[in-house]
Protein backbone atom coordinates (compact mmCIF):
# COMPACT_ATOMS: atom_id res chain seq x y z
CA UNK A 1 0.00 0.00 0.00
CA UNK A 2 2.75 2.38 0.98
CA UNK A 3 4.59 1.39 -2.17
CA UNK A 4 1.48 2.08 -4.18
CA UNK A 5 1.16 5.54 -2.68
CA UNK A 6 4.83 6.26 -3.27
CA UNK A 7 4.55 5.21 -6.91
CA UNK A 8 1.48 7.37 -7.28
CA UNK A 9 3.33 10.30 -5.73
CA UNK A 10 6.23 9.69 -8.09
CA UNK A 11 3.84 9.67 -11.02
CA UNK A 12 2.32 12.97 -9.97
CA UNK A 13 5.67 14.63 -9.39
CA UNK A 14 7.14 13.53 -12.68
CA UNK A 15 3.90 14.12 -14.49
CA UNK A 16 3.48 17.70 -13.27
CA UNK A 17 6.49 18.99 -15.18
CA UNK A 18 5.67 16.89 -18.21
CA UNK A 19 2.18 18.30 -18.31
CA UNK A 20 3.35 21.91 -18.07
CA UNK A 21 5.97 21.38 -20.70
CA UNK A 22 3.66 19.47 -23.02
CA UNK A 23 0.85 22.01 -22.68
CA UNK A 24 2.99 24.74 -24.18
CA UNK A 25 4.04 22.49 -26.98
CA UNK A 26 0.55 21.29 -27.74
CA UNK A 27 -0.74 24.84 -27.75
CA UNK A 28 1.87 25.97 -30.23
CA UNK A 29 1.29 22.91 -32.32
CA UNK A 30 -2.45 23.18 -32.12
CA UNK A 31 -2.60 26.82 -33.06
CA UNK A 32 0.16 27.09 -35.62
CA UNK A 33 0.88 23.54 -36.71
CA UNK A 34 4.45 24.22 -35.67
CA UNK A 35 6.37 21.28 -34.33
CA UNK A 36 8.57 23.45 -32.19
CA UNK A 37 11.81 21.65 -31.50
CA UNK A 38 13.09 24.82 -29.88
CA UNK A 39 10.45 24.60 -27.17
CA UNK A 40 12.99 22.98 -24.86
CA UNK A 41 15.25 25.97 -25.39
CA UNK A 42 12.61 28.24 -23.80
CA UNK A 43 12.54 25.96 -20.81
CA UNK A 44 16.33 25.96 -20.60
CA UNK A 45 16.57 29.72 -20.93
CA UNK A 46 14.22 30.22 -18.01
CA UNK A 47 16.02 27.70 -15.84
CA UNK A 48 19.43 29.16 -16.65
CA UNK A 49 18.28 32.66 -15.88
CA UNK A 50 16.96 31.53 -12.53
CA UNK A 51 20.30 29.93 -11.71
CA UNK A 52 22.14 33.15 -12.39
CA UNK A 53 19.55 35.59 -11.03
CA UNK A 54 19.03 33.94 -7.64
CA UNK A 55 22.67 34.22 -6.54
CA UNK A 56 22.77 37.76 -7.92
CA UNK A 57 19.66 38.82 -6.05
CA UNK A 58 20.55 37.16 -2.77
CA UNK A 59 24.20 38.15 -2.75
CA UNK A 60 24.35 41.48 -4.56
CA UNK A 61 20.93 42.84 -3.65
CA UNK A 62 20.79 41.05 -0.34
CA UNK A 63 17.14 40.06 -0.57
CA UNK A 64 15.90 36.85 1.08
CA UNK A 65 15.95 33.66 -0.93
CA UNK A 66 12.22 33.47 -1.66
CA UNK A 67 12.18 37.06 -2.90
CA UNK A 68 15.24 36.43 -4.99
CA UNK A 69 13.56 33.42 -6.49
CA UNK A 70 10.37 35.31 -7.31
CA UNK A 71 12.40 38.11 -8.84
CA UNK A 72 14.33 35.60 -10.90
CA UNK A 73 11.09 33.93 -11.97
CA UNK A 74 9.69 37.19 -13.30
CA UNK A 75 12.92 38.01 -15.05
CA UNK A 76 13.06 34.55 -16.59
CA UNK A 77 9.52 34.69 -17.89
CA UNK A 78 10.07 38.17 -19.26
CA UNK A 79 13.24 37.17 -21.06
CA UNK A 80 11.66 34.05 -22.48
CA UNK A 81 8.69 36.06 -23.71
CA UNK A 82 11.07 38.39 -25.49
CA UNK A 83 12.99 35.51 -27.03
CA UNK A 84 9.65 34.02 -28.01
CA UNK A 85 8.44 37.21 -29.63
CA UNK A 86 11.74 37.55 -31.44
CA UNK A 87 11.90 34.05 -32.88
CA UNK A 88 8.23 34.26 -33.76
CA UNK A 89 8.55 37.45 -35.71
CA UNK A 90 11.78 36.63 -37.50
CA UNK A 91 11.01 33.00 -38.07
CA UNK A 92 7.83 31.17 -37.28
CA UNK A 93 5.52 33.86 -38.51
CA UNK A 94 6.57 32.97 -42.02
CA UNK A 95 6.21 29.21 -41.88
CA UNK A 96 2.87 28.85 -40.12
CA UNK A 97 1.04 25.66 -41.07
CA UNK A 98 4.08 24.30 -42.87
CA UNK A 99 4.77 21.29 -40.68
CA UNK A 100 8.11 20.38 -42.23
CA UNK A 101 9.31 23.92 -42.76
CA UNK A 102 8.62 24.96 -39.20
CA UNK A 103 10.14 21.74 -37.92
CA UNK A 104 13.43 22.52 -39.64
CA UNK A 105 13.31 26.18 -38.70
CA UNK A 106 12.89 25.22 -35.08
CA UNK A 107 15.87 22.88 -35.36
CA UNK A 108 17.96 25.73 -36.72
CA UNK A 109 16.83 27.96 -33.86
CA UNK A 110 17.53 25.21 -31.38
CA UNK A 111 21.10 24.89 -32.64
CA UNK A 112 21.60 28.63 -32.36
CA UNK A 113 20.07 28.93 -28.90
CA UNK A 114 21.85 25.90 -27.49
CA UNK A 115 25.13 27.11 -28.95
CA UNK A 116 24.53 30.48 -27.35
CA UNK A 117 23.73 28.97 -23.94
CA UNK A 118 26.86 26.88 -24.13
CA UNK A 119 28.94 29.92 -25.06
CA UNK A 120 27.41 32.04 -22.29
CA UNK A 121 27.02 29.55 -19.47
CA UNK A 122 29.50 26.79 -20.25
CA UNK A 123 28.54 23.16 -20.05
CA UNK A 124 28.72 22.66 -16.30
CA UNK A 125 25.50 21.88 -14.46
CA UNK A 126 24.24 24.75 -12.34
CA UNK A 127 21.77 24.86 -9.53
CA UNK A 128 19.89 27.05 -7.12
CA UNK A 129 19.23 26.33 -3.47
CA UNK A 130 15.88 24.86 -2.57
CA UNK A 131 13.43 27.61 -1.82
CA UNK A 132 11.21 25.35 0.26
CA UNK A 133 13.49 22.95 2.10
CA UNK A 134 12.30 19.87 3.92
CA UNK A 135 10.20 16.87 3.08
CA UNK A 136 6.53 16.19 3.46
CA UNK A 137 4.83 12.93 4.20
CA UNK A 138 1.57 12.37 2.39
CA UNK A 139 -0.25 9.09 3.12
CA UNK A 140 3.03 7.32 3.65
CA UNK A 141 4.76 8.69 0.58
CA UNK A 142 7.67 11.03 1.06
CA UNK A 143 8.33 13.96 -1.21
CA UNK A 144 10.12 17.25 -0.90
CA UNK A 145 8.17 20.38 -0.14
CA UNK A 146 9.68 21.87 -3.24
CA UNK A 147 8.20 19.19 -5.45
CA UNK A 148 4.87 19.38 -3.74
CA UNK A 149 4.82 23.09 -4.50
CA UNK A 150 5.65 22.31 -8.11
CA UNK A 151 2.76 19.89 -8.36
CA UNK A 152 0.38 22.45 -6.91
CA UNK A 153 1.55 25.31 -9.11
CA UNK A 154 1.45 23.06 -12.16
CA UNK A 155 -2.09 22.03 -11.33
CA UNK A 156 -3.18 25.63 -10.94
CA UNK A 157 -1.54 26.77 -14.17
CA UNK A 158 -2.99 23.82 -16.03
CA UNK A 159 -6.45 24.49 -14.70
CA UNK A 160 -6.13 28.13 -15.67
CA UNK A 161 -5.06 27.26 -19.16
CA UNK A 162 -7.92 24.81 -19.51
CA UNK A 163 -10.41 27.51 -18.60
CA UNK A 164 -8.70 29.96 -20.91
CA UNK A 165 -8.93 27.63 -23.88
CA UNK A 166 -12.37 26.21 -23.30
CA UNK A 167 -14.22 29.10 -21.75
CA UNK A 168 -12.89 32.39 -23.01
CA UNK A 169 -13.17 34.32 -26.19
CA UNK A 170 -9.41 34.19 -26.69
CA UNK A 171 -9.56 30.42 -26.29
CA UNK A 172 -12.26 30.20 -28.94
CA UNK A 173 -10.19 32.38 -31.24
CA UNK A 174 -7.09 30.26 -30.63
CA UNK A 175 -8.95 27.12 -31.52
CA UNK A 176 -10.47 28.69 -34.59
CA UNK A 177 -7.12 29.96 -35.80
CA UNK A 178 -5.72 26.49 -35.21
CA UNK A 179 -8.13 25.02 -37.70
CA UNK A 180 -8.46 27.52 -40.51
CA UNK A 181 -6.78 30.88 -40.52
CA UNK A 182 -8.64 32.32 -43.45
CA UNK A 183 -11.99 31.29 -42.05
CA UNK A 184 -10.97 32.73 -38.70
CA UNK A 185 -10.24 36.08 -40.32
CA UNK A 186 -13.65 35.95 -41.92
CA UNK A 187 -15.14 35.80 -38.43
CA UNK A 188 -13.25 38.96 -37.51
CA UNK A 189 -10.50 37.18 -35.61
CA UNK A 190 -7.22 39.06 -36.02
CA UNK A 191 -5.33 35.94 -36.79
CA UNK A 192 -1.74 37.13 -36.68
CA UNK A 193 -2.21 38.66 -33.27
CA UNK A 194 -3.99 35.60 -31.92
CA UNK A 195 -1.27 33.32 -33.29
CA UNK A 196 1.35 35.43 -31.58
CA UNK A 197 -0.57 35.23 -28.29
CA UNK A 198 -0.77 31.47 -28.67
CA UNK A 199 2.93 31.24 -29.28
CA UNK A 200 3.75 33.45 -26.33
CA UNK A 201 1.46 31.57 -23.98
CA UNK A 202 3.19 28.38 -25.06
CA UNK A 203 6.60 29.92 -24.46
CA UNK A 204 5.49 31.23 -21.08
CA UNK A 205 4.36 27.76 -20.08
CA UNK A 206 7.78 26.39 -20.98
CA UNK A 207 9.39 29.18 -19.00
CA UNK A 208 7.11 28.40 -16.08
CA UNK A 209 8.19 24.77 -16.16
CA UNK A 210 11.82 25.85 -16.30
CA UNK A 211 11.43 28.20 -13.36
CA UNK A 212 9.75 25.51 -11.28
CA UNK A 213 12.30 22.89 -12.25
CA UNK A 214 15.41 24.94 -11.53
CA UNK A 215 15.49 24.41 -7.75
CA UNK A 216 14.84 20.69 -8.21
CA UNK A 217 17.14 19.38 -10.92
CA UNK A 218 20.53 20.48 -12.13
CA UNK A 219 20.34 22.89 -15.02
CA UNK A 220 22.53 22.46 -18.08
CA UNK A 221 22.32 24.12 -21.49
CA UNK A 222 20.53 21.04 -22.80
CA UNK A 223 18.13 20.41 -19.90
CA UNK A 224 15.09 21.27 -21.96
CA UNK A 225 15.90 18.98 -24.84
CA UNK A 226 15.56 15.99 -22.63
CA UNK A 227 11.95 16.80 -21.90
CA UNK A 228 11.17 17.54 -25.48
CA UNK A 229 11.00 14.01 -26.84
CA UNK A 230 8.73 12.91 -24.03
CA UNK A 231 6.57 15.95 -24.47
CA UNK A 232 6.07 15.06 -28.13
CA UNK A 233 5.06 11.57 -27.21
CA UNK A 234 2.67 12.97 -24.65
CA UNK A 235 0.87 15.34 -26.96
CA UNK A 236 0.53 12.72 -29.65
CA UNK A 237 -0.92 10.23 -27.20
CA UNK A 238 -3.24 12.86 -25.84
CA UNK A 239 -4.27 14.12 -29.23
CA UNK A 240 -2.63 17.11 -30.88
CA UNK A 241 -3.76 20.46 -29.63
CA UNK A 242 -5.86 19.02 -26.84
CA UNK A 243 -5.39 20.43 -23.35
CA UNK A 244 -7.02 17.54 -21.54
CA UNK A 245 -5.07 15.22 -23.79
CA UNK A 246 -1.76 16.72 -22.73
CA UNK A 247 -2.74 16.22 -19.11
CA UNK A 248 -3.80 12.60 -19.54
CA UNK A 249 -0.83 11.84 -21.76
CA UNK A 250 1.63 13.44 -19.35
CA UNK A 251 0.33 11.46 -16.42
CA UNK A 252 0.26 8.29 -18.46
CA UNK A 253 3.90 8.59 -19.51
CA UNK A 254 4.87 9.50 -15.98
CA UNK A 255 3.14 6.39 -14.76
CA UNK A 256 4.91 4.15 -17.26
CA UNK A 257 8.18 5.65 -16.15
CA UNK A 258 7.52 5.43 -12.48
CA UNK A 259 5.99 1.95 -12.37
CA UNK A 260 8.25 0.49 -15.10
CA UNK A 261 11.33 2.03 -13.52
CA UNK A 262 10.42 0.47 -10.22
CA UNK A 263 9.58 -3.04 -11.32
CA UNK A 264 12.14 -3.30 -14.10
CA UNK A 265 14.75 -0.62 -14.68
CA UNK A 266 14.64 2.84 -16.24
CA UNK A 267 16.19 1.62 -19.45
CA UNK A 268 13.52 -1.01 -19.91
CA UNK A 269 10.87 1.52 -18.94
CA UNK A 270 12.07 3.81 -21.73
CA UNK A 271 11.87 1.01 -24.25
CA UNK A 272 8.46 0.03 -22.93
CA UNK A 273 7.30 3.61 -23.26
CA UNK A 274 8.16 3.73 -26.95
CA UNK A 275 6.61 0.36 -27.64
CA UNK A 276 3.44 1.32 -25.81
CA UNK A 277 3.22 4.49 -27.85
CA UNK A 278 3.52 2.61 -31.10
CA UNK A 279 0.92 0.09 -30.04
CA UNK A 280 -1.33 2.82 -28.81
CA UNK A 281 -1.22 4.86 -31.97
CA UNK A 282 -1.90 1.82 -34.10
CA UNK A 283 -5.09 1.18 -32.18
CA UNK A 284 -6.11 4.83 -31.88
CA UNK A 285 -4.20 6.85 -34.45
CA UNK A 286 -5.79 10.11 -33.37
CA UNK A 287 -4.72 9.91 -29.73
CA UNK A 288 -6.84 9.49 -26.63
CA UNK A 289 -8.98 12.56 -27.07
CA UNK A 290 -8.28 13.53 -30.67
CA UNK A 291 -10.95 13.56 -33.33
CA UNK A 292 -10.68 11.73 -36.59
CA UNK A 293 -10.15 14.14 -39.40
Amino acid sequence: MELFVQLLANTLQIGAVYVLFALGLTLIFGVMKIVNFAHGAFFTAAALIVTSMVPFATVELGVPLWAGYLLAAFAAIAVVLSIGALVYSIGFQHVLKDLNGSFILSIGLLLILNGAYLAIYGGAPRSVPQVLPGTVNVFGATLTAQRLALVIVAAVVTGGLYLLIERTRLGLALRAVAMDQEAAMLQGIPYRRVALYGFLIGAALAACAGVLMAPINAVTPVSGDEFLIKAFIIIIIGGLGSVTGAITGGLFIAMVESVGGYFFDPSTATLAMFILVIGFLLVRPQGILGNVE
Binding site: I90, F103, I104, G108, L111, L118, L240, L271, F274, I275
Partner: protein, 309 residues
Protein backbone atom coordinates in the same frame (compact mmCIF):
# COMPACT_ATOMS: atom_id res chain seq x y z
CA UNK B 1 11.14 19.27 -72.09
CA UNK B 2 14.53 20.06 -73.52
CA UNK B 3 15.36 21.52 -70.16
CA UNK B 4 14.41 18.37 -68.33
CA UNK B 5 16.51 15.95 -70.30
CA UNK B 6 19.32 18.46 -70.40
CA UNK B 7 19.31 18.53 -66.60
CA UNK B 8 19.42 14.75 -66.44
CA UNK B 9 22.41 14.65 -68.78
CA UNK B 10 24.21 17.21 -66.67
CA UNK B 11 23.63 14.96 -63.66
CA UNK B 12 24.89 11.90 -65.51
CA UNK B 13 28.01 13.81 -66.46
CA UNK B 14 28.45 14.95 -62.87
CA UNK B 15 28.10 11.39 -61.62
CA UNK B 16 30.64 10.04 -64.09
CA UNK B 17 33.16 12.72 -63.32
CA UNK B 18 32.71 12.08 -59.58
CA UNK B 19 33.52 8.44 -60.09
CA UNK B 20 36.54 9.34 -62.21
CA UNK B 21 37.65 11.85 -59.62
CA UNK B 22 37.44 9.23 -56.90
CA UNK B 23 39.49 6.83 -59.02
CA UNK B 24 42.19 9.39 -59.71
CA UNK B 25 42.22 11.41 -56.50
CA UNK B 26 45.44 11.12 -54.61
CA UNK B 27 44.02 12.50 -51.38
CA UNK B 28 41.53 10.09 -49.87
CA UNK B 29 39.81 12.92 -48.02
CA UNK B 30 38.07 14.41 -51.02
CA UNK B 31 36.92 11.03 -52.26
CA UNK B 32 35.44 10.19 -48.87
CA UNK B 33 33.89 13.63 -48.70
CA UNK B 34 32.08 12.82 -51.93
CA UNK B 35 30.89 9.54 -50.44
CA UNK B 36 29.44 11.34 -47.40
CA UNK B 37 27.76 13.89 -49.57
CA UNK B 38 26.14 11.25 -51.70
CA UNK B 39 25.16 9.14 -48.71
CA UNK B 40 23.45 12.18 -47.24
CA UNK B 41 21.94 12.92 -50.62
CA UNK B 42 20.38 9.45 -50.73
CA UNK B 43 19.03 9.89 -47.21
CA UNK B 44 17.53 13.23 -48.12
CA UNK B 45 16.15 12.04 -51.44
CA UNK B 46 14.58 9.03 -49.77
CA UNK B 47 12.99 11.27 -47.19
CA UNK B 48 11.64 13.46 -49.94
CA UNK B 49 10.46 10.38 -51.81
CA UNK B 50 8.12 9.54 -48.93
CA UNK B 51 7.14 13.21 -48.67
CA UNK B 52 5.48 12.61 -52.02
CA UNK B 53 2.73 10.75 -50.23
CA UNK B 54 2.70 13.54 -47.67
CA UNK B 55 4.41 11.68 -44.86
CA UNK B 56 7.55 12.66 -43.00
CA UNK B 57 9.27 9.35 -42.39
CA UNK B 58 11.68 9.62 -39.49
CA UNK B 59 12.26 5.87 -39.80
CA UNK B 60 14.45 6.73 -42.78
CA UNK B 61 17.16 6.83 -40.12
CA UNK B 62 16.15 3.40 -38.86
CA UNK B 63 16.34 1.76 -42.28
CA UNK B 64 19.67 3.39 -42.92
CA UNK B 65 20.75 1.67 -39.73
CA UNK B 66 19.18 -1.63 -40.69
CA UNK B 67 21.12 -1.59 -43.95
CA UNK B 68 24.33 -0.76 -42.14
CA UNK B 69 23.81 -3.37 -39.45
CA UNK B 70 22.84 -6.04 -41.97
CA UNK B 71 26.03 -5.48 -43.91
CA UNK B 72 28.19 -5.17 -40.82
CA UNK B 73 26.77 -8.23 -39.10
CA UNK B 74 27.03 -10.47 -42.14
CA UNK B 75 30.51 -9.18 -42.95
CA UNK B 76 32.10 -9.08 -39.51
CA UNK B 77 30.29 -11.77 -37.56
CA UNK B 78 29.46 -14.21 -40.34
CA UNK B 79 32.27 -13.43 -42.74
CA UNK B 80 30.03 -13.53 -45.82
CA UNK B 81 31.37 -12.29 -49.15
CA UNK B 82 31.48 -8.55 -49.80
CA UNK B 83 28.94 -8.36 -52.61
CA UNK B 84 26.45 -10.53 -50.79
CA UNK B 85 26.66 -8.40 -47.66
CA UNK B 86 26.10 -5.29 -49.71
CA UNK B 87 23.15 -6.81 -51.57
CA UNK B 88 21.51 -7.94 -48.35
CA UNK B 89 21.38 -4.40 -46.97
CA UNK B 90 18.65 -3.06 -49.29
CA UNK B 91 16.83 -6.40 -49.23
CA UNK B 92 16.63 -6.48 -45.48
CA UNK B 93 15.59 -2.84 -45.34
CA UNK B 94 12.91 -3.48 -47.96
CA UNK B 95 11.46 -6.49 -46.17
CA UNK B 96 11.39 -4.85 -42.76
CA UNK B 97 10.03 -1.60 -44.14
CA UNK B 98 7.21 -3.49 -45.86
CA UNK B 99 6.25 -4.83 -42.47
CA UNK B 100 6.71 -1.42 -40.88
CA UNK B 101 4.68 0.34 -43.56
CA UNK B 102 1.91 -2.18 -43.54
CA UNK B 103 1.46 -1.77 -39.79
CA UNK B 104 2.03 1.97 -39.40
CA UNK B 105 0.72 3.63 -42.55
CA UNK B 106 -2.79 3.71 -41.20
CA UNK B 107 -1.68 6.74 -39.28
CA UNK B 108 -1.09 10.01 -41.05
CA UNK B 109 0.65 13.35 -40.75
CA UNK B 110 2.05 14.19 -37.34
CA UNK B 111 0.89 10.85 -36.01
CA UNK B 112 2.86 8.94 -38.58
CA UNK B 113 5.80 11.21 -37.92
CA UNK B 114 5.71 10.22 -34.30
CA UNK B 115 5.19 6.50 -34.86
CA UNK B 116 8.12 6.45 -37.23
CA UNK B 117 10.12 8.37 -34.67
CA UNK B 118 9.22 5.88 -31.94
CA UNK B 119 10.09 2.94 -34.19
CA UNK B 120 13.47 4.50 -34.88
CA UNK B 121 14.18 4.88 -31.19
CA UNK B 122 12.98 1.37 -30.37
CA UNK B 123 15.26 -0.14 -33.00
CA UNK B 124 18.16 1.89 -31.71
CA UNK B 125 17.48 0.82 -28.12
CA UNK B 126 17.32 -2.79 -29.27
CA UNK B 127 20.79 -2.49 -30.81
CA UNK B 128 22.13 -1.02 -27.60
CA UNK B 129 20.77 -3.91 -25.59
CA UNK B 130 21.95 -6.68 -27.90
CA UNK B 131 25.42 -7.86 -26.97
CA UNK B 132 26.05 -10.01 -30.05
CA UNK B 133 26.16 -6.93 -32.24
CA UNK B 134 28.33 -5.02 -29.84
CA UNK B 135 25.67 -3.24 -27.79
CA UNK B 136 26.41 0.42 -27.54
CA UNK B 137 29.96 0.00 -28.82
CA UNK B 138 28.70 -1.14 -32.18
CA UNK B 139 30.61 -3.13 -34.77
CA UNK B 140 34.09 -2.45 -36.07
CA UNK B 141 36.16 -3.68 -38.94
CA UNK B 142 34.08 -3.72 -42.10
CA UNK B 143 36.77 -3.58 -44.75
CA UNK B 144 36.16 -4.17 -48.43
CA UNK B 145 38.26 -6.99 -49.92
CA UNK B 146 41.86 -5.99 -50.65
CA UNK B 147 41.33 -6.10 -54.40
CA UNK B 148 38.55 -3.54 -54.18
CA UNK B 149 39.82 -1.46 -51.29
CA UNK B 150 41.53 1.23 -53.34
CA UNK B 151 38.52 1.60 -55.65
CA UNK B 152 35.94 1.51 -52.89
CA UNK B 153 35.11 5.25 -52.88
CA UNK B 154 34.61 5.15 -56.65
CA UNK B 155 32.39 2.09 -56.32
CA UNK B 156 30.42 3.69 -53.51
CA UNK B 157 29.91 6.86 -55.52
CA UNK B 158 28.75 4.89 -58.54
CA UNK B 159 26.24 2.87 -56.50
CA UNK B 160 24.90 5.89 -54.64
CA UNK B 161 24.54 7.90 -57.82
CA UNK B 162 22.71 5.00 -59.43
CA UNK B 163 20.38 4.91 -56.43
CA UNK B 164 19.64 8.60 -56.85
CA UNK B 165 18.85 8.11 -60.54
CA UNK B 166 16.59 5.19 -59.65
CA UNK B 167 14.65 7.31 -57.17
CA UNK B 168 14.33 10.02 -59.79
CA UNK B 169 13.12 7.47 -62.32
CA UNK B 170 10.39 6.28 -59.95
CA UNK B 171 9.30 9.81 -59.28
CA UNK B 172 8.98 10.61 -62.98
CA UNK B 173 7.01 7.45 -63.70
CA UNK B 174 3.29 6.92 -63.29
CA UNK B 175 4.05 5.67 -59.80
CA UNK B 176 5.21 9.17 -58.89
CA UNK B 177 1.94 10.56 -60.16
CA UNK B 178 0.02 8.11 -58.01
CA UNK B 179 2.03 9.09 -54.95
CA UNK B 180 1.19 12.72 -55.54
CA UNK B 181 -2.46 11.88 -55.99
CA UNK B 182 -2.47 10.07 -52.66
CA UNK B 183 -0.89 13.10 -51.03
CA UNK B 184 -3.40 15.43 -52.59
CA UNK B 185 -6.61 13.53 -51.83
CA UNK B 186 -6.43 9.81 -51.29
CA UNK B 187 -10.16 9.29 -51.66
CA UNK B 188 -9.87 9.83 -55.41
CA UNK B 189 -7.43 7.02 -56.17
CA UNK B 190 -9.41 4.80 -53.84
CA UNK B 191 -12.62 5.57 -55.64
CA UNK B 192 -11.19 4.36 -58.94
CA UNK B 193 -10.05 1.02 -57.62
CA UNK B 194 -6.47 1.66 -56.54
CA UNK B 195 -5.09 0.10 -53.40
CA UNK B 196 -3.86 3.16 -51.59
CA UNK B 197 -2.38 1.32 -48.63
CA UNK B 198 -0.37 -0.91 -50.93
CA UNK B 199 0.92 2.09 -52.87
CA UNK B 200 1.93 3.90 -49.71
CA UNK B 201 3.77 0.83 -48.46
CA UNK B 202 5.44 0.54 -51.84
CA UNK B 203 6.60 4.12 -51.60
CA UNK B 204 8.14 3.51 -48.18
CA UNK B 205 9.71 0.25 -49.35
CA UNK B 206 11.39 1.87 -52.34
CA UNK B 207 12.76 4.67 -50.21
CA UNK B 208 13.88 2.28 -47.49
CA UNK B 209 15.66 -0.01 -49.93
CA UNK B 210 17.56 3.02 -51.18
CA UNK B 211 18.66 4.09 -47.70
CA UNK B 212 19.32 0.47 -46.81
CA UNK B 213 21.84 0.28 -49.63
CA UNK B 214 23.31 3.60 -48.53
CA UNK B 215 23.59 2.11 -45.03
CA UNK B 216 25.51 -0.89 -46.33
CA UNK B 217 27.83 1.36 -48.28
CA UNK B 218 28.25 3.56 -45.23
CA UNK B 219 29.25 0.55 -43.11
CA UNK B 220 32.19 -0.19 -45.39
CA UNK B 221 33.07 3.43 -45.92
CA UNK B 222 33.11 4.21 -42.21
CA UNK B 223 34.42 0.80 -41.04
CA UNK B 224 32.61 1.39 -37.74
CA UNK B 225 28.95 1.64 -36.85
CA UNK B 226 27.26 2.19 -33.53
CA UNK B 227 23.62 2.56 -32.50
CA UNK B 228 23.89 6.28 -31.87
CA UNK B 229 24.68 6.81 -35.56
CA UNK B 230 21.13 5.83 -36.41
CA UNK B 231 19.19 7.97 -34.00
CA UNK B 232 16.25 10.04 -35.22
CA UNK B 233 18.52 13.03 -35.68
CA UNK B 234 19.84 11.50 -38.90
CA UNK B 235 16.39 11.96 -40.40
CA UNK B 236 16.15 15.46 -39.00
CA UNK B 237 19.37 16.39 -40.74
CA UNK B 238 18.09 14.76 -43.91
CA UNK B 239 15.03 16.97 -43.69
CA UNK B 240 17.31 19.95 -43.32
CA UNK B 241 19.07 18.93 -46.55
CA UNK B 242 15.71 18.66 -48.28
CA UNK B 243 14.52 22.01 -47.04
CA UNK B 244 17.72 23.88 -47.72
CA UNK B 245 18.08 22.37 -51.16
CA UNK B 246 14.43 22.82 -52.00
CA UNK B 247 11.79 20.14 -51.90
CA UNK B 248 10.10 21.15 -55.10
CA UNK B 249 12.69 19.46 -57.26
CA UNK B 250 14.47 16.08 -57.13
CA UNK B 251 17.81 17.84 -57.34
CA UNK B 252 17.05 19.90 -54.22
CA UNK B 253 17.98 17.28 -51.60
CA UNK B 254 21.21 16.51 -53.41
CA UNK B 255 22.18 20.14 -53.49
CA UNK B 256 21.15 20.61 -49.88
CA UNK B 257 23.16 17.58 -48.77
CA UNK B 258 26.20 18.87 -50.63
CA UNK B 259 25.98 22.37 -49.22
CA UNK B 260 25.31 21.41 -45.62
CA UNK B 261 27.85 18.59 -45.58
CA UNK B 262 30.50 20.96 -46.91
CA UNK B 263 29.51 23.71 -44.50
CA UNK B 264 29.63 21.13 -41.71
CA UNK B 265 33.14 20.13 -42.74
CA UNK B 266 34.22 23.69 -43.05
CA UNK B 267 32.99 24.75 -39.62
CA UNK B 268 34.20 21.55 -37.91
CA UNK B 269 36.63 22.79 -35.34
CA UNK B 270 35.02 26.02 -34.17
CA UNK B 271 33.46 24.31 -31.16
CA UNK B 272 30.44 25.97 -29.53
CA UNK B 273 30.13 28.30 -32.50
CA UNK B 274 29.75 25.39 -34.86
CA UNK B 275 26.17 24.85 -33.74
CA UNK B 276 25.37 28.52 -33.90
CA UNK B 277 26.79 28.77 -37.37
CA UNK B 278 25.03 25.64 -38.59
CA UNK B 279 21.77 26.83 -37.08
CA UNK B 280 22.18 30.25 -38.62
CA UNK B 281 22.76 28.74 -42.05
CA UNK B 282 19.53 26.78 -41.72
CA UNK B 283 17.47 29.69 -40.46
CA UNK B 284 18.88 32.14 -42.99
CA UNK B 285 18.34 29.83 -45.92
CA UNK B 286 14.78 29.13 -44.90
CA UNK B 287 14.03 32.79 -44.46
CA UNK B 288 15.82 34.14 -47.49
CA UNK B 289 14.92 31.46 -50.02
CA UNK B 290 11.79 29.71 -48.85
CA UNK B 291 11.85 27.39 -51.87
CA UNK B 292 15.37 26.30 -51.02
CA UNK B 293 18.37 26.77 -53.25
CA UNK B 294 16.62 25.14 -56.17
CA UNK B 295 13.67 27.44 -55.69
CA UNK B 296 16.05 30.36 -55.80
CA UNK B 297 17.55 29.13 -59.04
CA UNK B 298 14.12 28.74 -60.57
CA UNK B 299 13.03 32.14 -59.42
CA UNK B 300 16.13 33.56 -60.99
CA UNK B 301 15.12 31.94 -64.23
CA UNK B 302 11.62 33.32 -63.89
CA UNK B 303 10.22 29.82 -64.02
CA UNK B 304 8.42 29.85 -60.75
CA UNK B 305 4.78 28.88 -60.98
CA UNK B 306 3.26 29.40 -57.60
CA UNK B 307 0.31 27.17 -57.04
CA UNK B 308 -2.93 28.84 -56.17
CA UNK B 309 -4.53 28.71 -52.74
Amino acid sequence: MWNKSFGVWVCVALAISSVLFALLATNGYYASLLVWILTNAVLASALRFVLQIGELNIATAAFFGIGAYTTATTAVLLGWPFWLTLLLAPLMAAVLSALFGWVTLRTKGPYFLLVSFAVTEVIRLIYTQTNVIGGNSGLVGMFPPMAIDAYYPALAIALLAATLFALYGFERSDLGRLFKAIENNDAIPRSVGLNVVFLKVLCVVIASAAVGLAGGIHAYANTVIAPSDFAYFVAVLALAYVKIGGEGHPFGPILGAAVLTLVGQWVAGISAWENIFYGAVIVMTLRVFPGGLVGLAERARGLVTRSAR
